[in-house]
Structures are given as C-alpha cells and as structure tokens.
C-alpha cells in the first residue's frame, strides 16, 4: 500500500469513530437516545479499545494471547484502587480518574513486559495456554486479596478482613477479596471513552505504519528472515505485547469507573472474556483495526438490542455469530462476495461507457 492509501484508510477509521460520536451526541442532545443505549455507550468504547489492543498482539504480532482479560483486570483493580485511595487527598473525581487511567495502563504494561519475557519464547498454542493461565492467576490472586488502610498506613492480607487488623475508627477497607471494590465513582463518560478509543487507534495505527510496526510484522511473517536482516525479535515482540497489555489495562480502568461494583469474578475477567475479545478480533479481521471496532460494537450491542425476544435472544445471538463468521471468512462466501462486487463494478463501467 502506498503512503497515501494508508493515510486515507486511517482517516476513514478515525472519521468513523468521530461520526459515531457526533451522531450519538446529537441524538442525546435532542432526547432521541434511549436509556439502554446511553448505558451501553461506555461498554461499547471499552470493548472497542480491547479489541483494537488485542488485534495488535494477534493480528500484527501474530501471537495468540488468551490473557487479555487478565491485563484488563489488573488495570481495573489498580485504577479503582487509586481512585478510592486518593479520595481524601484529591477531591476532584476527574483528576483521580485521569491518574487512575495512567496507573492502570502502567501496571498492565509492566506486567505485560514481565510476563512477556519468559512467555514470548513460546509459540502458537503454548503461548495461548500460558497467557490463559496468567489471566486466571491474576483473577484468583485478586479474589483472595484484602487491602485496607488506617492512620498507621496500609494493611494487606490474603485471609480475611478481620486479619487486616485495621483501626476500628479510621480503618477503611479498599479491596475486600471476592467482594472486590465497591463505591468507585462513575466518572467514565461516553466522550472520555471515545477519546480513549481515538488515543488507542492513534497509538496502534501509528505503530503499524512505523519502522517498528514493519519490524513487528516481519517477525510475524517470517521470524528467521527477520532475524537474518538484523531485527531484534525479542525487543519488538515485547514492545508490541506490552503496549497491547497497557491499552487493555486502560480499558479496564474505564470499566471500573463505569460501574459502582468491581469483582474479579469469572464472569468479568475469566478466560471467557478473553475469548470474547478474541472473537471480536477474528470476526473483524486479523490486523484490521476498523473491523475490530465494528465487530466489538455490533456484538456487544446485539444481545441488548434483542431483548425483545426474551429467552430466545442468546440463541439468536449465537446464530448471528455463526452467520457472520461464515459470511466473513468461509472461502465460498468470500468468492461470492468478490463476484458480486465485480458485477457491480462492471455495471458501473458499462454505464460510464454507455454515457
């Protein structure tokens, strides 16, 4: 692809997000937005960020990671922890949220780096297994973690809240094991979500079209050839993997600040969540950021839009998923699509010629 083409493609992606934002804002201002949609906006942004960031690992780096929910979990908990911690010191929720976003991304990124050093030596299925295990470990560790503070400082425990030994008067429990963190201020808004999505796109798209991105993709396409031209495989792999993790951590902070309860349950951060994000990426197309966003938005909104069907909605959801997969990736369907496109093109040229 030429530089110009790439620029146009990227502009379309940014434009799509901005138009979505503008349309929603106009609908909201004019009172045409249902409460259901309003409530869905932040999760939509969150899943879009997660899908784009995972696409960096799976589509660009070419490594199958099933631990994305684990990084999201790390970000969510460190972010929510910070926001609740600083409640007394920094009164502005906005500032605390901003700091939480930074910390969440940092913690997830650092863990991405630490995990990446041993793990990225593995390839394919093995990497998938190890990242899956990592996600589960994170979830289970947080489930037994109790943290509180009082006048004497922070207290940690892996047992229960009584063993924290908090001062009765000044003690505040921040993380309460399986009950997680409750009472995080809901600072996440749609506009912040869109800004973060744009930031994610900016980082990922610029990375792809840079020297670094080309190096990463060359590792994906042929590791031996890449090494032979002097590309530092470990460095670039780690870089892509930890950036992807940091962005997932940021999405986690967004999630933590959109609900007043945060728990490291299997439902929220289990491997099923990782697989869900992977489904967005695969359906949207490996390496295709715009596709990831569209798939994430469609598949998140769909089960909610089908609420009218009551008990059948999850069934329909599954059918739609299968149909979409076939339409998107079965060779026959692709063939069919290109035939149809060709016909349309032919007609256009014929018309032009006739005119």
């Amino acid at each position: 692809m030429t530089k110009k083409k790439i620029r146009i493609q990227n502009a379309v992606t940014y434009g799509m997000v901005l138009i979505f934002w503008a349309v929603v804002e106009i609908m909201d201002r004019t009172g045409n937005l249902s409460s259901l949609l309003k409530g869905l906006l932040v999760p939509l942004c969150m899943y879009a960020i997660l899908a784009v960031s995972l696409n960096l690992t799976v589509g660009i780096l070419g490594e199958l990671s099933l631990g994305h929910a684990g990084f999201m979990c790390l970000g969510a908990f460190s972010g929510a922890f910070l926001t609740n911690c600083l409640e007394g010191a920094v009164p502005s929720v906005g500032v605390r949220f901003f700091l939480a976003l930074l910390l969440g991304a940092l913690v997830a990124g650092v863990f991405g780096l630490l995990i990446g050093i041993p793990v990225l030596r593995l390839k394919g299925d093995y990497l998938a297994i190890v990242t899956l295990a990592f996600g589960e470990i994170i979830k289970n560790l947080i489930n037994v973690l109790y943290v509180g503070y009082d006048a004497n400082g922070f207290h940690f425990s892996m047992k229960d809240t009584t063993s924290l030994g908090l001062d009765k008067e000044t003690g505040v429990i921040l993380i309460k094991g399986a009950q997680g963190i409750t009472g995080t201020p809901r600072a996440a808004t749609f506009t912040i979500g869109i800004l973060l999505l744009l930031l994610t796109l900016f980082i990922v798209l610029n990375l792809i079209n840079s020297r670094t991105g080309r190096a990463v993709m060359s590792i994906r396409d042929n590791r031996i050839a890449a090494e032979s031209v002097g590309i530092n495989v470990t460095k670039y792999k780690l870089m892509a993997f930890s950036i992807s993790a940091a962005l997932a951590g940021m999405a986690g902070v967004l999630y933590a600040h959109s609900l007043s309860t945060l728990q490291a349950s299997s439902n929220n951060f289990g491997y099923n969540k990782s697989i869900l994000i992977l489904v967005f990426v695969v359906l949207g197309g490996l390496g295709n950021m715009r596709g990831s966003i569209i798939a994430a938005v469609l598949l998140t909104a769909l089960p909610e839009m089908l609420r009218g069907l009551n008990d059948y909605r999850m069934l329909i959801y599954a059918i739609v998923l299968i149909v979409m997969t076939i339409f998107n990736s079965s060779p026959k369907a692709i063939e069919l699509r290109s035939v149809v496109m060709d016909k349309i093109r032919h007609k256009k040229t014929e018309k032009k010629e006739a005119a």
Partner: protein, 385 residues
C-alpha cells in the same frame, strides 16, 4: 447465489423477529394506557444462576396476578416486565436501562448481590424505588431508596452462630466456604466473629473457589481430622450436594449446617436425598410449611415446580410494594421520583405477614426486621425448628 439468498433470509428473519419483539412491548404499554403501576423485575433468567431469577420472576408474576385479580393497588392494576441480567453487573444495569425506556416506576431486583449493588447506584441517581428480594450483600441497600426482603449476609452469619450456640449443637465447628463468592465470605466473616461470643471453637476453616467446586475431599478430610462435630456450609446447594455425598463416601457424619443458599438441596438432580437427612439450615421459607401451602400450590399449578426461597422473597416483595403503595397513596400518574419519595416513608410504616416471616417491618436503612428460622431435613422435607 443460494448462499447469499440463505444469508439474506436469515438476516431478514433476525430483523423481523427483533422488530416483533420491539413492537409487542410498545403495544402492551399503549394498550394498557397510563392507568397501571409499572414494576420491573431484574434477575438472571439465563445462565448458571437462572434458577433464582426465574423463581423471582414467576413469583412476582403470580403475586401481580393475585393482586390484580383482587382489585389491584387502590384499584390500579400492576404491569410487570422482567429483564434478564445473566448474573452480571453490567448486564444488570443494561436491564435497568431497558426498563427505564419502558417507563418503569418501581424495581424488584436485582436478584443477586453484585448486580444489585450496580443497579442500586443507578436507581439512587434516578431516585427510583427499589426492593431486592435476595440481594444480601451489605452494600446492596446502601442508598436510602433501596430495601430488601432477605437478611443481610452478616446478619445471617451471626444468626447461624447464635443458633448453634444457643441450641448447643456443637462446640468444635469446621467451616467450608467459597472464597470467590461474596455471599459466602460475607457470611463466614460474621459467623467467625459471632462464634467467639457463643463459645464455639473453629477447628478448621477451609476455602474453595468457584473454579474447583467439584472436589471437596481435602476440605472434608481436614474437617474430619480436626474432630469437628458440626460443619458450617455457607454456600449454595449445588456445591452442598457434592459435599454431602463426598462426606458420606469417606464415612464422615457431622451435623451439616447451612444457610439460605442451601435451600434447594432436595431438588438437585441425581442426588440421593437421603444423604441430606439431618442437615440443618437457616431458611426463611419452606414449601411444606403450613403457612406457605397456598402459595406453594398456586406456584406449582402455574409453573410446574416447587418454589424456592427466592420465589418466596419475591412474592413478599410484591406484597410489601402493595402495602407501602396503599399506605403512601401513590397514583400511576406520579413520576417515579415522587413515587419513590412517598414509598420510602411508607415502607418504614408497614408491617406484613409474608411467606418469609410474620410481622415483617423495615427500617429506614432498608433492612427487614424478622425472626430467623431454622429447619432440619427429616424424611425428605423441611421441619421447622
């Protein structure tokens, strides 16, 4: 071309079906006009916790039909709308937003604790009256517009310890609990605290998590070796059925003492119910109890299954709404926020004789005041103690 056609047809089917769904609800609300109270139910209707949500939905429906047949609330009919939350906090908020689009005025839900906390935070902003049948975590009723029918987790844990202490069931107690479940850890914590006051000695304290809830041999061996004569099991009945059969396999026969989550143990498929003989549990409701006969019969006739305590809680929640609404004198044309203000005061003034307790009253914090009841399983039925 065939494939494209098939895809087109499938897409058209999906669209038309979702369109049907959409229009049917609007028709409902239009046909009934404004002269009804719109009550929304939120709970897990699908997924692993579906038994609870469905129980709540069915019982709420049953109560609504009864109330409507008896002339409604001050002559105004009730309209129900149940939304699924899959036992997920985010989905629960989505369900609440869907209900808001429908024009809901009062909420019964959410059924499970974590989703309930998330929904409470939303209803607080909208000042929407909410009563949860079974959201037992402390934080569920933190906002002053939220009430609950069940006991809070710590209250149940403390009540269990008191019951064991007062009836001198045992002195050496083992605890097995689910550390990944807030319900279980909350009860356990309060139990441990109160046990000290009751002179109970906790000789074993073993945890499991949702991911390894199929093998309890390690925990049971430790409990057995520690010489405990009573095992406190603050978790749900599916796990409890496994605990009981594994304890039987290893020839360990202490008193098993459960809380309300144990309710339902007799309905577990492929479970030898004779193993549950002598199990004690704190439960607010028993289907075989004298006072609940009428409800049980009606529920079985309508839905073909025995109601669990979640259903009983929901049934009481509906009648609490009725009593409070009549006291408050609310009308359907009031805004949800005005209704909430009136209901908040009225809730603290009413007293109802429900399935889960007689003379139930509520305080302004949203907690119910009723006596804890314990049951023992004898010959396959609950015998109230």
């Amino acid at each position: 071309m065939k494939k494209l056609l098939a895809f087109g047809l499938a897409a058209a089917m999906v669209l038309s079906m979702s369109a049907c769904g959409g229009t049917s609800t609007t028709e409902n609300s239009q046909a009934s006009g404004d002269a009804t109270f719109k009550i929304g139910v939120i709970g897990p209707l699908t997924g692993p916790a579906a038994a609870y949500g469905q129980g709540v939905r069915n019982a709420a429906e049953l109560a609504a039909n009864e109330i409507n047949a008896a002339g409604g609330i001050n002559g105004v009919m009730i309209e129900l709308n149940a939304q699924d939350d899959e036992h997920d906090a985010q989905k629960s908020v989505n369900a609440y937003n869907t209900l808001k689009d429908w024009g809901v005025q009062m909420i019964v839900g959410s059924v499970t604790s974590a989703p309930c906390i998330a929904v409470s935070a939303e209803t607080e902003i909208d000042n929407m009256f909410q009563i949860t049948p079974s959201g037992s975590a402390v934080e569920c009723v933190a906002p002053d517009n939220v009430f609950r029918v069940c006991f809070a987790d710590p209250d149940q844990g403390a009540a269990a310890a008191q019951y064991i202490g007062e009836h001198q069931l045992a002195t050496d107690v083992a605890i097995i609990y689910d550390s990944s479940l807030e319900y279980s850890t909350g009860i356990r914590e309060a139990f441990v605290e109160e046990a000290a006051n009751q002179g109970l000695k906790i000789v074993a304290d073993e945890a499991f998590t949702a991911d390894n809830a199929t093998d309890f041999s390690v925990q049971l061996t430790k409990a057995k070796d520690s010489g405990a004569t009573l095992v406190f099991c603050p978790f749900y009945y599916q796990e409890a059925s496994i605990v009981l059969s594994q304890a039987n396999d290893m020839g360990y026969d202490p008193i098993f003492f459960g809380v309300d989550g144990m309710d339902g143990i007799l309905s577990v498929e492929n479970f030898d119910t004779s193993l549950a003989e002598g199990v004690m549990l704190l439960t607010p409701f028993s289907a075989t109890e004298e006072s609940s006969q009428e409800f049980t019969a009606a529920y079985e006739a309508a839905y073909g299954e025995t109601p669990n305590q979640f259903a009983a809680d929901a049934y009481d929640a509906m009648y609490a709404i009725k009593a409070a609404a009549e006291t408050a004198g609310i009308t359907p044309d009031m805004s949800a926020s005005d209704i909430c203000d009136a209901m908040k005061t009225a809730m603290t003034q009413i007293s109802i004789d429900g399935l889960t307790g007689s003379g139930m009253t509520w305080n302004a914090a949203g907690e119910p005041n009723k006596a804890p009841k314990a049951a023992m399983i004898v010959d396959g039925v609950y015998v109230m103690q």
